[in-house]
Symmetry: C2
Subunit: 362 residues, 2 copies
């Protein structure tokens, strides 16, 4: 039976990425050695990293004056590196869910944090839009997509202070005006590659604002100066990202991907809104195109486990919702084919029929 | 032509590791999905990480009371995490080469560092053995194998203070008395797997000695408490390490590997000592079994580039020495087959004959 991979992350990757990564592991054409066992200083490796950075820049239209880094340690390490490098006295954070919360917690190690807006009042089912950003802050931090709660910024905020953003779960899924940000970061394991590498897009002249001494590995300047080669980077993970980027270029770039994502998400949201058993959890205008969260309508609440089993028996993987929201979450990242979304829609329709006609076949 | 991979790191991995990692990327038997695209919270992934930790413990005979962690960020991040977590007032470091130097540099961000011994006086060609360790230090830090200078500790030091060790380039190559250390760490990319994952062996009750607040990702306690699953670990990199560990078990464990390593290194050192063109750079008693450094004898010095080309034309990869030592470096990590060492020995002999008979054929 075909599996439909709706995991929230690590998550589905394109066949192109999977096959070409396996191929590079078995042996690079130009080195006769595995991508896993060549020196990061070798020509084959440095050229590969340069190609990845170059394609990354091209696909996201990253302006001059920004560097692209590939680091280890995950976005969670960025939660502390951002304030380590940028928080002098006070930073503003928008609290749109769990990941924002973690970022806020780490920032507090380094200075004052003002949470200028939060959607906690309604279990993070919306993106806060009304807030004042004090002028004396070092930066405003946002989380552009909230995997757990299924909400997403559809537009980059307009503020008059430097911005920092965690785009772990929606980078490459939609157009982003990079010039609005001083720093954008994220783990690779949603729209880019396997877990183990973290991308950072950083405005070169945005550094140097803090006085504190910063250990070398935690100092963005180290990595900008050495072009991600200060220490051994996660080579095979970057190689896998390169395959995804090549695939994105073939798809027609971010604009084409965004359209496809809207179509996929639209299909599933339409079914959620139509189906008598289910309802979405996020406010419609803030619904994420990456993580689609829904629950059983009150009267069918006791069927949750049964539906999970029903869907699982039909190849749906990873659709159990996070415990903070409950219900279901279907993650429809860039690599998710529309056929899988249609398969899930069909399962929901089949289940609805069974329940309403009272003749359900597991 | 067969390539013989003598890279210093990232470096040769076993065919077993390479083939099984590629296989897992194409699709896990028990998940029908790629190891790169399954949730780190999935049963398949958590079981895989548990198996890796368990086998890691077994092969190194790690005593109770120690945790094994798999983190991102490389050993270079450990250079700052060790003092972040352990350096209260003063730490002692032994300076046995470049990597020690980098560790010392990062420790100085956190407190006083006393370099109790250094082999800098003779370009790090030996392991310092005579030193006094002050009683009031928080820990003594050593680098057990020095990739650049080709020296290695053959015995764990006997000191009365807690020890911290960077074993990036010789873990699993020789017997180590883990109980002598509070913390041992290293990048995977020599004897374990592809770059992108860092192992940490840590004595659970060794923490809590410093007062400073430690950001979550830099706090060992976070990772001990969550068993390396606080954030998304580098899954595919850990999976590759597991393959290497399974291969080690088949080889008969560390004891068998150590014997094989001594044999391989012995072969090459014997040739270096015999061959009229070459000489070793490290003091004999401190010669590394992992990185074998040698240069041209004075009278043949101008042949260095020619020999590199000669060897390269015969399939030798990565034998150019680091600029700090010059000459050549053949890294003979665990996965290096003795046939490759023999091939290099033959190339050295062939080249010697050609030079001495003055009829060299490139």
């Amino acid at each position: 039976m075909k599996k439909h991979n709706f995991y929230a992350g690590p998550s589905i990757l394109s066949d192109y990425t999977i096959k070409n990564t396996a191929k590079g592991i078995l042996g690079l054409d130009n080195a006769e050695l595995s991508i896993m066992e060549i020196s990061h200083r070798s020509k084959e490796c440095t050229e590969m990293v340069e190609e990845t950075i170059s394609l990354f820049r091209e696909l996201l239209s990253i302006p001059k004056g920004y560097s692209v880094l590939f680091l280890g340690g995950g976005a969670s390490t960025q939660f502390c590196m951002v304030p380590y490098n940028y928080l002098n006295k006070k930073a503003a954070y928008i609290d749109s869910g769990s990941w924002s919360g973690k970022a806020i917690k780490e920032a507090r190690f380094f200075g004052e944090v003002e949470v200028v807006a939060s959607s906690e009042d309604r279990n993070y089912c919306y993106i806060p839009k009304k807030y004042d950003v004090p002028k004396d802050i070092d930066y405003l931090h946002i989380t552009t997509n909230n995997t757990i709660f299924g909400t997403q910024y559809k537009k980059d905020p307009d503020v008059k202070v430097p911005m920092a953003a965690d785009m772990s779960s929606d980078i490459f899924s939609r157009y982003v005006d990079i010039s609005k940000y001083d720093i954008i970061y994220g783990g690779a394991q949603k729209n880019l590659g396997p877990a183990g590498v973290t991308f950072v897009i950083i405005k070169d002249d945005s550094l140097g604002r803090v006085e504190r001494p910063i250990p070398s590995m935690l100092n963005y300047k180290t990595h900008i100066d050495k072009e991600s080669m200060y220490n051994t980077p996660p080579v095979v993970n970057i190689f896998a990202c390169l395959q995804t980027l090549k695939w994105y270029r073939r798809l027609g770039g971010v604009q084409a991907i965004q359209k496809y994502n809207e179509k996929k998400a639209g299909l599933l949201y339409d079914e959620i809104d139509r189906n008598r058993l289910f309802k979405g959890t996020a406010d419609k205008k803030d619904r994420s195109d990456m993580n689609i969260t829904f629950v059983m309508n009150e009267e069918f609440k006791e069927l949750q486990t049964e539906f999970l089993e029903f869907a699982s028996n039909r190849g749906m993987v990873g659709i159990k919702g996070h415990r903070s929201v409950g219900g279901f979450r279907a993650s429809t990242y860039n690599a998710m084919p529309i056929d899988s979304v249609m398969a899930l829609v069909e399962v929901m329709q089949e289940y609805e029929k069974g329940v309403l006609n009272n003749n359900l076949k597991k």
